[in-house]
């Protein structure tokens, strides 16, 4: 019988930008078991949201995650709008779509850069992050915030996109798409990248269903799942295709992220072209009563919000199920059997976001 050793991976580790600990049980260089340890980043946001009033909670919801922040505030506002029985104007819905897709774009570029950095391809990491900076500039020009946009409000959005800005968005999106082709070609076709990702961290289609994988992790295992496909809100009025790969490995997950970047760019272009005229905010009054569940597609996968109000100034219950929370069980399935040196790449390949998992 071989002697096994427990190697702690994290909470501080060069490839992890957030505190996640995985206790790896290894035999020689092979990982045989994984025990996760969570809770380093718990902030009690759900309880905090029950103490605040419903408007202040928009800013609380936006800070659940530092990367996919806008979609959190959108989902929260959509929940409150449903409880209040109001509808945000079509123009506001399209501005929300543009903001959400910009968030997805910068999140995916962050992922691709971090993945390249994870296996030591730092030049590629710099290329992706240089382009990501332009997306952040676009977000700041639209809303005033580089990452935390603060643009969503109950009943619509707080800042409009004028014609000059719309033209600037289309121009910049076109240039970003053109400049992204060489680094994306590199990450998808490079020999070194393929050596580090192909066949690593296998999650079959059956396992993805069994362990409840969501988002790019599920789509890389051949599952055609995307909440945007339900066509809720403005997503019903734009054309887009869902990226699905059959590789089931870290390379397939990278490819899904890389190809989704172009889908987001196309969605932004379409939304700016179809931007309806009119108001950007519906007036509302009153307090929330009743309960609602909403799902939305984050860059990392499906997210669920549960909001319950009992007619008071504050909410009675606020619950968030984030995509990384659903993708952790599949990660624990991927790791046993891999080499110790492949653990960082496999962990990054699910695009973990620990801050929003622990809230």
């Amino acid at each position: 019988m071989r002697a096994s050793t427990v190697v702690p991976f994290g909470p501080q580790h060069p490839v992890l930008i957030e505190p996640l600990q995985l206790k790896l049980v290894v035999e020689d260089e092979k990982v045989v078991d994984v025990v996760p340890a969570l809770g380093y980043g718990h902030r009690g946001l759900e309880k905090g949201a029950e103490l605040n009033d419903i408007v202040r909670n928009i800013f609380m919801a936006e800070r659940v995650c530092g990367i996919c922040s806008f979609i959190h505030s959108w989902c929260y506002c959509a929940c409150i709008e449903e409880l209040l029985g109001i509808q945000s104007p079509p123009r506001a819905e399209f501005i929300r779509l543009i903001s959400a897709e910009l968030t997805r774009l910068h999140s995916h570029l962050l992922f691709l850069g971090l993945l390249a950095d994870g296996f030591g391809f730092e030049s590629l990491f710099m290329q992706f992050w240089r382009i990501r900076e332009r997306v952040l500039d676009l977000m700041e020009a639209i809303s005033g915030g580089r990452v935390i946009m603060g643009n969503c409000a109950i009943g619509g959005v707080r800042k409009d996109i004028d014609q000059d800005m719309a033209r600037a968005i289309v121009k910049e999106v076109g240039e970003i798409g053109r400049d992204l082709r060489p680094p994306i070609k590199a990450i998808l076709e490079d020999y070194t990248v393929k050596q580090r990702t192909v066949g690593k961290g296998i999650l079959t289609k059956e396992e993805a269903v069994k362990f409840g994988a969501v988002g790019p992790v599920a789509r890389a295992s051949g599952l055609r799942t995307d909440v945007r496909l339900l066509g809720e809100g403005p997503y019903g009025e734009v054309d887009f295709s869902v990226v699905v790969e059959d590789g089931c490995d870290a390379y397939a997950r990278t490819a899904v992220h890389a190809r989704e970047v172009f889908v987001s760019l196309d969605l932004i272009r379409q939304a700016v072209g179809k931007l309806p005229s009119g108001e950007i905010r519906t007036k509302w009054k009153g307090r929330v009563r009743g309960e609602v569940i909403k799902r939305m597609e984050q860059p990392r996968g499906e997210m669920m919000y549960y909001v319950r109000g009992n007619g008071n100034r504050t909410l009675e219950r606020f619950k968030v199920r984030t995509p990384t929370f659903a993708n952790l069980p599949p990660l624990l399935k991927m790791l046993p059997g891999c080499e110790l040196a492949d653990v960082p790449v496999i962990v990054i390949s699910i695009d973990p976001c620990i801050a929003c998992t622990e809230r």
Partner: protein, 120 residues
């Protein structure tokens, strides 16, 4: 790696994308939420901004005639700008300068139309 060679050569012979800060500061975007400015003379001490602030950066004490604003807790979300009935607030696109000592701003205010006085 050979796929990146063209890009690497272009980078080698092109100007750096980083800015020569602080000699060349960034021009802020028009919509950028930089610093919250407060015109205390317009304040009627209603406390709407205190209720609206998600960060708890504003404290209004009508009985003690005090108005406190902590710019270092402020997240410049603009919620107080929307809540204020007399439009006391404005957000400029310039970011706040770094300081040596973080101090809460305190004003002495009254409900009457007397001019408010900054006490610290």
């Amino acid at each position: 790696m050979p796929g990146m060679l063209g890009q690497v050569l272009r980078n080698l012979f092109s100007r750096p994308v980083t800015r020569n800060y602080p000699a060349e500061p960034k021009t802020p975007f028009r919509a950028a939420r930089g610093t919250l400015m407060l015109d205390i003379d317009k304040c009627i001490v209603c406390g709407a901004c205190e209720k609206a602030c998600p960060a708890g950066a504003i404290e209004v004490k009508p009985k003690e005639h005090l108005y406190k604003y902590d710019p270092y807790s402020c997240i410049v979300c603009g919620n107080c700008v929307e809540a204020c009935p007399t439009h006391c607030f404005d957000i400029t696109s310039e970011w706040r300068k770094p300081v040596e000592k973080m101090e809460t701003m305190v004003w002495e205010v009254t409900r009457s139309k007397e001019r408010a006085r900054r006490t610290s």
